[in-house]
Structures are given as structure tokens and as C-alpha cells.
Symmetry: C2
Amino acid sequence: MKKIFLVISLLSGLAYGQSSVQQLAPVNFSDVTITDPFWKSRMDAVATNTLQACILYTENRTGRIRNFEKAAAKTGKHEGIYFDDSDVYKAIEAMAYSLKHHPDAAVEKKADEWIAKIAAAQLPDGYLNTYYQLTGLDKRWTDMEKHEDYCAGHLIEAAIAYFNTTGKRLLLDVAIRFADNIDSTFRLQNRHWVSGHQEIELALMRLYHQTGNAKYLALSTWFLEQRGHGYGRGVIWDEWKDPAYCQDATPVKEQQEITGHAVRAMYMYTGAADVAAVTNDGGYINAMQRIWEDVVHRNMYITGGIGAQGKNEGFGADYALPNESAYCETCASVGMVFWNQRMNMLSGESKYVDVLEKSLYNGALDGLSLKGDHFFYGNPLASSGGYGRREWFGTACCPSNIARLVSSLGNYVYSVSADALWVQLYIGSELNTKWQGADLRVKQLSGLPWHGAVSLQVEQAPKKKFALRLRLPGWLSEAAPGDLYQYINNSVGLPVIRLNGEVIGFNTDRGYAVIDRKWKAGDKIEINFPMQVRWVKSNTALTENKDRVALQYGPMMYCVEAADNAGKAWDFIVPVTNDNAASMASASVVNYEAKLLDGVNRIEFDVLALQGSADGKSLQAVPGKRKAIPYFSWNNRGAGEMQVWLPTAIRSVKVNP
Amino acid sequence: MKKIFLVISLLSGLAYGQSSVQQLAPVNFSDVTITDPFWKSRMDAVATNTLQACILYTENRTGRIRNFEKAAAKTGKHEGIYFDDSDVYKAIEAMAYSLKHHPDAAVEKKADEWIAKIAAAQLPDGYLNTYYQLTGLDKRWTDMEKHEDYCAGHLIEAAIAYFNTTGKRLLLDVAIRFADNIDSTFRLQNRHWVSGHQEIELALMRLYHQTGNAKYLALSTWFLEQRGHGYGRGVIWDEWKDPAYCQDATPVKEQQEITGHAVRAMYMYTGAADVAAVTNDGGYINAMQRIWEDVVHRNMYITGGIGAQGKNEGFGADYALPNESAYCETCASVGMVFWNQRMNMLSGESKYVDVLEKSLYNGALDGLSLKGDHFFYGNPLASSGGYGRREWFGTACCPSNIARLVSSLGNYVYSVSADALWVQLYIGSELNTKWQGADLRVKQLSGLPWHGAVSLQVEQAPKKKFALRLRLPGWLSEAAPGDLYQYINNSVGLPVIRLNGEVIGFNTDRGYAVIDRKWKAGDKIEINFPMQVRWVKSNTALTENKDRVALQYGPMMYCVEAADNAGKAWDFIVPVTNDNAASMASASVVNYEAKLLDGVNRIEFDVLALQGSADGKSLQAVPGKRKAIPYFSWNNRGAGEMQVWLPTAIRSVKVNP
């Protein structure tokens, strides 16, 4: 624990102080052009179909934009739910990120239109919330659960994103006015307020870094510090939910375990990490270490999804991770990406990026159809056949959330610290940033997630010696930090790394291969990640997965879906044991199929298939084959049975289900 | 077909004409006191818990009563859905029926309060609909789908029921004014109007019989005749649903098959039967014969439930009757009871009562929890474990509908014709009515649905000779008319009937045993219905039930529920064949368990249970036992697996589901 309090050095490119606990900083997505075949197609789908879906539903099929028009006109009936303004802001944020690398005049025009309506609706004092402006301003700030500050947070994030892409500051000025209004309404009067849905904390930290104005840091900290003192008791929670639902049972720094609503938790800890990165506040960091372990060691699905329960959209008992009823909200996986990035920034430990990668490639990406026009709100790990993505939701947080994540993917590929460039994710891309006062340009090619060949070509580099820190993905060894999931068959070991064609040795540090040298244009690193089928088992405490295995290949979890298996996905066992796991893995056939699901690896493996005898009076287990596809790509060929966790033994059956 | 046009004779006790096609008339429930142990407990549950649930949700938890207050005050925002007035009326109707045999001053006071509010809300011209009165009267009668006439129909039914129980005519006067307003708005101007949800037709026929005013007969007929001419095209259906959804694709008399929304269909055909009973219109009767056969031979579940599809709350393709996703709305089974009673009245054929009984004891009664405080909207025939009754629904048609059916159960037990008393259902009861100008009093005791001993004691009878017509239930021979379902094991035959202790012979006619004599006080009929376990199979066209059997005992369908079977209901086969069906039936143990589910027969029978071997690598079918309970009583011990149709052969499995 001690090392994370060490101040390593000045981070270049960061606006904040030199004495930060923060060890590294992400390279902003605006300096990273994604060229990766896999991810480029996801981003294109978002830039076209997802944004169009957001526009269609935000503007036409629901009253979200009309609410701003009515608020500006000071007349009309509010349509929808009290938090619907946030979806407009998140859509603008996604548009802003997408416009950076996918210029689209029509999308930008639409965003400008919306922003003009938003600005027109703002009150002279800076307040902006169409729900209260249309149902009675006398009621504003009377109900902590009504998401006024949550909507403000998303306004701030959208405003910053749009300003940074377009240079247009109308929305940023709106956001600043509202932030100042909130600051004077609450912090400056020390009027207690427990946010009913955390979000404003992380948003204010963005505004602090954007403007350099310390009052936003102070306000973010103030919001965090409001929690756990009973300020909401009798006001919201007693009537509505338990304080633990909203991480309000104890002060943040004293929290011992993960509780409650998953998205609220992720956003809050992200904000706390952002504050700690500036203030070096060990209280937050200690608490988050404990809570992160509670999440990852006892409460996280193998997909990186979190929040097992629908009833609280959040966490249940430790190890209670049912598969078919898994809630695993898309937004919660998006939040896991945010939070784990911050935890990595604070510690330089790769285990956080392992979790980030797991959530990104599985739990989050599953929320989006291949075409980008259908969405999962929840992401179960098994389906009896009736579950499918939908065009939109009454509570529509997920579509714009996955859109803003995917279109800002470049944020998660590279980081920098005082003396190193960190390669966090192996995603084909062109890095072109300023670092150490010089230009740094690197071109990455990656075969992941389908094969393990990766290359990094330096095109321009500072003259000074620096380290290239190459993340050694957790899936080379263990599935997740802690002992919740373990591989059955052993890894084939570390990757071979070549520098300019020659195999080189390397040191490892906190999960990274470190190659420290003076780099010059033309230097080329080639990495060959050993890829193989990995069988994964669960800690025995996770009783839902007793006698079950999952199938992993690289960062991707796989699933068996009806469409590849004659309409069935629940009718076999995988006879994997400790003894035969290696041979069963190597006997599995991994095939990249370019025409399947926009191009995926399909894995064929041996099973014992259960089938009735001719007379239907008995049943045999006969050798057979089944095919698996990446989990994120299921339900793109209609609804059907699906399973991630595959049985290894027959304990019970349903006949003719 | 011909015989149903024969006018049999004058029916005593009927207000309408002597030349009616109607052969028999039901004895009104007010002349039938239910004493039956099984049904009395259901009626008590309705009189207490169900009515209280209706009051709680109608008045407090939703704005249904507030809407009337606001309409009276001509100010305020309408709460809920545009058809919510109907739930108030149906609750009053249920209260009225219940008050007849369960006087309850508090319930009557509540009904009086509501009725005063309803009356206060009525406009001077007779119009009454809180939705339009609160959202804009200029829009009234502009959208055929907005249920204004549907609500009017339920108002009329409630008003008649309440008047007949209490003699208070405030609501009846309200209903008459609204009916007159509708008559002058539409029929008298021949302004076309296709009801978006049929109901007013049958209600107007009640009003016709109540008042003797022929204009309500004319208006009911007019509504029926509006359908099928395209009057709704471009007005409602094109924008909303296909005309067949609402039985508006062709004129009623030309309809060839069942289509669309199940409740709309049932209510319409009930109204058409009521009109035909007075007007002798063979067009309606012919059409209904065809449609009834289409329902019962190709589109009805073994529970008497109809409307397989959720998407249209109605009928799908012939024989497309999936079990787990079966919609089978409670209200549609209530409608089946209504319609089949009318079809029996028109024809004197017992097959209609067979279907009525099937729907009543299974598809309808399943909608109500044993305590009467939880409800099913849909009634599937299988559950993977997640399905359960709920306290209320957004669209809350079902709770008050099952309440009014159960509390008026006495309507379905006896009928009279010119020369006969018809015993339709074997339900313990005291009949006390005027017939043939004399008092007729009969006391029935019945062991059904648990055992077959029934007695009927004449306590007072007209001096003239008349026939006692005792229905010979269809479950003595075949499961349903037509060949959709068939018994595998043979019946043990007709019942033994004793008159004053002596076994007598009897003639049968249209499904009734006919005992024609001069009856005197003290005469006692004893019937011993042969009860046995019946295995039922489906027509092969019903592919969902391939290799499956259902279990029936008397009128009750049985199901296997997790609670009686170590938490599983899908893990076995019933090895029933044509050859062993009789022996498997007689080997089954039928046990009345007084403490189980308020007292039910539980049936234990032989199965081959599927279980994994010790190492989990193979599976065996081993002899075992399973227990079944009456279908209506499932889901009263928590949610769990359930099946009505039990597999007889293994065709596929789910492992560790």
C-alpha cells in the first residue's frame, strides 16, 4: 500500500500540481487515432447508427429536446422522467467524441441546435433542469433523489467534450454558470446535500482540470464529504432506499465494502480517485483499495460485469452471481472502465487495466449490437432464449453511455508518466502527442483480440531516454486478480518481444514489461502474445458456477449460442478436468471467420452431448462438438439460448425445455 | 344446426318474448346460495381480500376515484390511463354481487361514496368519462380506441348489479342517462362508430332486459352491425392495429374464424348471443357456431385459457399454443365463461358448459391467489420459476373481473326451460327461485372437484311434472369437444344415479341425463360420478405438446410444481403409452389433503426421473414418483418451476438449468 503514496515525478501534460500521488496520466483520445480493424468497426457503428438512434429517440420519439424548448418558453408540460436531461447531455458528449475522428457536419449541426436550446433554457441564476423548470421551480433542490446534480454533472462532461472538439464554448459557459450556481447554493453556504446519484463529483474534477479553477476541486471534494453523515436520512433514504444503496451509509473514506447501486458506486469512486490524484488524500485511496478488492474478488462476473441484482440495480451478497438473471448493467461496466483507469493512474499497477479490459471487451461492449442500433440495459451470462437487445429504453442511460465510451476509446490505450510511455491496451492506433516537450508518435498494429501479433513502431520520440512499458495482460496468467476465477490449463508463458527484429529480454514491473532505452524514429517492437484456449473455473464459494467452466481467448470471454449449435446451448457438458484441460484446450479449433459477426474467432471444442434414445426413454452422453463465439457478439442473429458458464457434470436436467 | 332455430317453448321468468330462439335461461345468482366448501372459500376470499385490494388500489394507490372528484370539480390533471374508469365500475359490480350473499356495511358505504362521486361527475347531457372531461371535452368521441363506450358498458353493468342488490338507483339513473346520450349521439344520427373495445353490446342487452326499453336492444344491435364495413379504417386501425385485432375485418355475421384480441372477441360474441337470443337472428348464431369451433378445436388451451400471444393479447395461428409463454389473460377466461353460458342457452347443448367449466375451474380461477390478494394477468401453463402473481397491474382489468365472476358464481349453476330444471355445475348450493309460477327449492351437496358424490334434494317444487336435466360432464368421456385434446385411458363410464335410494335408468339428451317426473318435497337424487386420473394428449397438430401428457381429475387440470417435488418440475418423464395408460392411472394415488392449499387433491404418480450419475458424466432415467396439484392453486407457495404438460419422452435436455 505504501508505494502509492510516493510521489514519482512531474507528469508532463497535466495541468495539476507536481506533487501528485498520481503516477501516470492517460493520453487523451484526441491524440490517439484508432485504426484497429476490430475497434474501428465498433466506432464507425457508434458514429453512424448509435448516434442516429440517440438523435431519433432524444429529439423525436421522446420529449427530451422539447422539454428544453418548453423550459425556454416557460410553458408546457414536462415529458418523460426527471432525469431525462442527462441523456441529452450524454448524447452530446458522445457526438463530441465521435466528431473528433469522424467529422460529420450534420451531427455537429444537430449538436449546435440542441446546445442553443439548452442555453436558452438556462435561468439567469445559472440553474438548469427542465423537470423543475416545468413542474415548479419552488420545488428545486428539495429532493436529493431527483438527479438535479446528476444532470448537472453530465452537462459539464458534455460541455467540456464539445468545447475540446469544436472550440465552441456556448455549452461550456452554460455548464460553468450552473456549476457556480450549485457551488453558491451548497458549498458556500454549507447547506447539506447528499447527491441521490453520484456523477457531479467526477464531472467537477473535469471542470477543475479544464479551467484550472480550484473551486471545482473544492466542490467535488465537498460533495464526496457530504456522504455518510446521515444528511440524507429522513430526507430521501428512509422513504426510498437504504443509505447503503447510494453509498451513503458511512463516509467514503471509511467504507469497507461495495454496496448498493452499481453505477452510482462506480461514478463516485471515479470521482474520489480524481480528487485523490490531486489532493494525495490517502483516505480515499485506502478505502478504494479495500472496495476494489471486494468488487473484484467477490462480486464481479467473469465478463467484468457488476451489479448482480435487478432489484437494486446493484450488488448483492458476496459470491451471489447468478448467470441468467445477472443484471450487469451496461452503464456499470462503463463505470468499471472509468474507475479502473483511475486506479491504474494512481498505482501504476496493471491489474486495474486487466479489469478495465475485461469490462470493456465483454460486459460493456455486449451492451451494443454489431450495427450499433440495439442495446442491452442488462447483460446476463445465460439466456433461455427470450432475451434480446432493444432499440431504446424508458430509462435510457445505456445507449449514450456505451456510445461515449466507444467513441472515446483512445483514452484507454496509452498513458504517460515522467519517464515512460505505457501501452495499456493492444489496439491498432496512431499515437501523436506532445510529451516531455517533444513530439511523440507511435504506430501500433494489433492482431488482438483474434491473434497475438502486435507491433509498435516509433515514428518520432523525445531525444531523452525513456521506458516503454508494455502491459503483460492478466489473461497470460490468471483470469482476474484475486482468486474468484482461475485458469484450469496453464499458460504458455510470457510473450516473445523483438526489438528491430531481435528477440530481447525485459524486466517486468507491476505487470508491465519495461524496455528502457533511447528511442529513435523507426524503432520497432514486435510482441507475440501466446494465445490459447483457456478454461476458467470459479472459486467454490461462487456456487452458481459449481461444475461449470468458461472459455476465454485473449481478453474475450466466449459463449455458446444457439445459432452456431443447431438451436441449443444448454444440452451438453464439457468434460474438462484438471488432468485433461491442456489437451482439451489444444484440441479446440480456433478459427477466424471473416464473415461471421463482422469477423470473429469461433472456437470449436469437444463436448459430451446429451441426447435421448430413439424411444425417448433414456438419455446418453455422446461425444460431440460445440462452437463458441465472443460473448459481446451474441444476440446479433436473433434471440436464442446462450451460456457463458458451461456445465462439466450433470447434476440436474430439464427435459424438453 | 337446424334445431337451434326451433322455438321450444315459453321460458318462465324471462322478461323477453315467447318466440325466442333461446332454449333455457340461467337462474340468477341472487336465487342461488353457494354452500360448497371449495367455492365458498373462494367467494369469501373475494368478499374480503379481493374487494379490499380493489378498494385500496382504486381509491388510494391510484387516482381512479380522484379522477371522478376532479371531473366533478372540472379541474385537475387526469391520472392513469384513459380506460381506468372501467375498473371503478367493475369493482362496484363485484361489490354488488358480493354484497348479495356477504352483506358488509363498510363495503356498501364505500360503494355509495364512489357512486356519489361518479354521479357528481356526470355532465348534464349524460356524458361521463373522466379522461376526456379532464383532458379536453372537445376531443370526446374522436378516437374510437379510447374506450369511452367500453367504460360506459361497465358503468351499465355495475349500475344494474348495484340496483338489483341494494335497490338504490342513483347509479342506474346515471347509466341510463349515459346510454341515452350515446344512443342519440350515434344510432339516432347514424353516425358511424366502431367500438375500439367491445363491451357495450352485452351491457346494453342487460339494460334492455332490466328496463324493457327496446331502444337498448336496438343500440346494441346497431353497435354490432357497425363492424366490418371499414368505418374504422383510417380512423383507428390503420394507425394502431389491424382491423382483425378488433374483430372489425368483416361483419360479425360473416366472420369465419376467431381473430385478434381475446377479451374483445369474448365480450362481442357474448353481446351477439344476447341479441340473437331475443331477435332469433340466425346470422349471428351461425357465425358463432363456426367461431366457437375454431376457438375450441384449434385455439384453446387445455385449461380453457385462450389468447396465446402477448403481442396482441389474443389469438395466433391455429394450434400455436406454447405453454411457458401462453398469455391466457384471466379476463379472456372470464369472457369464455360468459360466452359459453350464452351458447348453452341458445342450444341446450352441454358441450358449452364443459368449456365454461374448464375455463372457470382452471384458466379463470388461476388468476386469483388463494387468499384473494394477488392476481395473474396472464396464466401460462409452464414456468421456469420466475413467474408469480402480483398485487396489482398498470392495466388493472383482471382483479375486478375475476372478482365479479367469482362473486356471481351462482349464475352458472342452474338453468330453467319451459319443462326442465337444468343442473349445469355440481356446486353445493341452495336454489330458491320462482319458476312456473311456483316456488322451486333444491339443495345440492357436491364432493366435486375432489370426489364424485353429488346429491340434490328437492325441498319445494311446482306440482306439474318436469324434467331434471343433469349435465353429464365432458370429463366423463372426452376432454373437450372436437379433437384438440383426447384422453389416453378410457373412461369408466356414466354415473350411477339414485332416486330416493334406488338406482334408476335415465335417458340422455344433448349431454344431459333427463329424469322426467312429478317431483315432490323430499325427493332426493344421488349421483356418483366415476372419478379417475385421466391422461390427456393433444392433437399432433399442436406440436408444442408433442410427447407430452396432461393430468386431469374431474374438471381440474393438474400441474407439477416445484414445491411438492424437491424444487424441480422439469426433470422427469411420464412413461405413459396407450397400452399402460389405464394401469398408470389406477396406480396413481389421489389424496385429499385438507391442510394443503386450503384443501386440494394431490395426485402422486409414477415417473422416470432423470438424474446424473455420481461422476456427473452420464444420466439415467430411474423410476420415481412426482406429485401434482390442481393448476389453479399453483404459485401460492412462492415462485418455482411448474408444468401442466409433462414430457413422455426425452427429445432434448437442458443440463443444470
